[in-house]
């Protein structure tokens, strides 16, 4: 059994708790508002579309939503130790992690890939090919981000901070300054997938598709495996 509906229900309600849901909605709503404004003021323009979908949607929105959904799928439960109710059950630990991952991926994609697609259509441009390319890249990135940030959630109480540092400092800042860093960036790997569809030079990755694919699979599978291991030996200690 790779999926447990009860675990999924609990996780989904934890991620989409009232406040969290509002934060999750903020960026997609912003993206769509900007898309409408741009379309009205500038009209359909491939250059602008690629800037907005690449620079804002894929580079900022997807990782931020990934951090919230990925760490939120498990971090708070471990933090306040309410996860004992989940763990004191004869449910295999990999099942728990895979279920939580499924929910985190679903939420990340729903709040990032879907709005990216919608924004792309609103922006018009190159036969909506760009919209599909970036939305696909966002969907691919959702999987890897969710897995990676879910793993961070099983490792540290400060997973959100580390997640933000990874997304904003490593990928966004260092990624734009240091060439080598780009090779180790979920965003670039996802772009490599989008590049295949995008055509026309507006979707560009610094990583070749085969390498990107391998790295995406390795990171997703590795992080998931590691998270399950963490859960197997999760420790509850008395108050210090």
């Amino acid at each position: 059994m790779l999926y447990h509906p009860t675990v999924a229900r609990l996780t989904q309600r934890a991620i989409l708790g009232r406040r969290r849901a509002l934060i999750l909605l903020l960026l997609p709503v912003l993206l769509i508002v900007i898309a409408i404004v741009v379309r009205v003021l500038v009209g359909a323009d491939d250059e602008v579309t690629a800037d907005l979908l690449g620079g804002f949607a894929l580079a900022t929105m997807v990782p931020l939503i990934g951090v919230i959904a990925g760490t939120g799928a498990i971090g708070p439960e471990i933090d306040d130790s309410s996860i004992v109710y989940l763990l004191a059950k004869p449910v295999p630990r990999p099942t728990i992690i895979l279920t939580k991952l499924t929910v985190a991926v679903g939420v990340t994609a729903a709040f990032s890939a879907l709005p990216t697609l919608v924004a792309g259509f609103i922006l018009g441009g190159n036969g909506s090919r760009l919209a599909v390319a970036y939305a696909l890249a966002a969907a691919v990135a959702s999987v890897a981000y969710a897995a990676f940030f879910l793993m961070l959630g099983t490792i540290s109480r400060h997973a959100v901070v580390f997640g933000l540092v990874y997304a904003l400092v490593w990928e966004a800042l260092l990624g734009s300054l240091v060439d080598g860093v780009k090779t180790l960036s979920i965003q670039q790997w996802a772009l490599a997938v989008g590049e295949k569809i995008g055509q026309g030079g507006h979707v560009v990755s610094d990583v070749a598709l085969p390498v990107a694919t391998v790295l995406l699979v390795v990171v997703t599978a590795g992080a998931t495996w590691f998270a399950a291991q963490r859960l197997r030996s999760l420790t509850l200690a008395g108050e210090e």
């Binding site: 309600r13 109710y85 004191a88 059950k89 295999p92 420790t235 509850l236 008395g238």
Partner: protein, 303 residues
């Protein structure tokens, strides 16, 4: 018949030894794990519940290792010490989720909620519950699969007397039905009322084991300490030292206090005033210096 065995188990956190070479077996019936704050009760229970690995030694359920073995939860129900639950759920949703995770359904959840008398508030969010209500919902979540072993860490915390009585009855019934019930507490009276068998743990060590009569006796027979101020501490000391009920004497000249350790409580309380009178010594102050639970317990460890 299910037995949890703790075999030469120690657990340390960095330099802190929380549990120190403990060996005990918890069998069917109700067992009380008694010890003062910080004694290592939660550490032991967490190891029995598979949420902490022993640093050395083994913790087993009918011979099967508990750590990293999720199958044991078919037989174990746990009521943790911590408050946190899925507060955004209602009581009913929470207990139902626990039932489903055991492969059970709404019937099991309903039954467990009825057992703890929480049906009346089952549709309220847990975040609105009082401490006692939380405790009872935690209890329901642990009972939902009718486990052979029930582990409860400070289950009576925050309960009012009526709820406490009700939970005690419930645990008694489970014990009488042959289930293995272990609960921790730092209150002797609580443990006495409920537990057929008591395990005492102090400063990480297994201090005593037996029924409540034996534990009581150990506690009243222990040496009592007194701090005495008198008109002539020195003369009083030399008059007392001859008597077998006096086990130790220490004169603190600076503060003018005579510290006395008495082994035979009844005899000593009669001896002290008589000796003082016979020697014309006036007693200004006689105070038992360590009646705290800690000191009562630490005597047991030394014994």
């Amino acid at each position: 018949m299910t037995t949890i065995r703790i075999d030469s188990v120690s657990r340390w956190f960095g330099n802190v030894v929380a549990v120190n070479d403990v060996t005990m077996a918890i069998g069917p019936g109700v067992t009380g794990l008694l010890g003062p704050n910080g004694a290592g009760k939660s550490t032991l229970i967490n190891m029995m519940a598979g949420f902490l690995s022993p640093s050395t030694g083994a913790v087993t359920l009918d011979g099967v290792r508990i750590w990293r073995n999720e199958q044991v939860y078919k037989q174990i129900g746990l009521v943790p010490e911590r408050e946190a639950m899925y507060d955004f759920l209602t009581g009913r949703e929470f207990v139902l989720a626990n039932a489903e995770l055991h492969g059970l359904g709404a019937d099991a959840a309903r039954k467990a909620l009825a057992t703890v008398e929480m049906e009346y508030a089952q549709n309220r969010r847990i975040s609105t519950y009082s401490k006692g209500m939380r405790q009872r919902v935690k209890m329901a979540s642990a009972l939902v699969h009718e486990p052979d072993v029930l582990l409860l860490d400070e289950p009576f915390n925050g309960m009012d007397p009526r709820q406490r009585m009700h939970l005690m009855d419930l645990l008694r019934q489970m014990g009488a039905a042959g289930r293995t019930v272990l609960f921790s507490s730092h209150i002797l009276e609580e443990v006495e009322q409920l537990a057929a068998h008591i395990e005492v743990i102090v400063a990480g060590r297994h201090a005593a084991s037996g029924d409540f009569r034996k534990i009581r006796r150990l506690m009243t027979d222990r040496p009592h300490h007194y701090a005495v101020r008198s008109s002539d501490d020195r003369a009083l000391a030399s008059a007392l030292i001859a008597d077998p009920s006096t086990a130790g004497l220490e004169l603190d000249r600076r503060d003018g206090i005579l510290h006395i350790q008495a082994v035979d409580f009844a005899r000593f309380t009669e001896l002290l005033p008589r000796v003082a009178r016979d020697h014309g010594i006036r007693l200004y102050e006689v105070s038992p210096s360590d009646e705290s639970l800690e000191s009562v317990f630490s005597y047991l460890v030394a014994a």
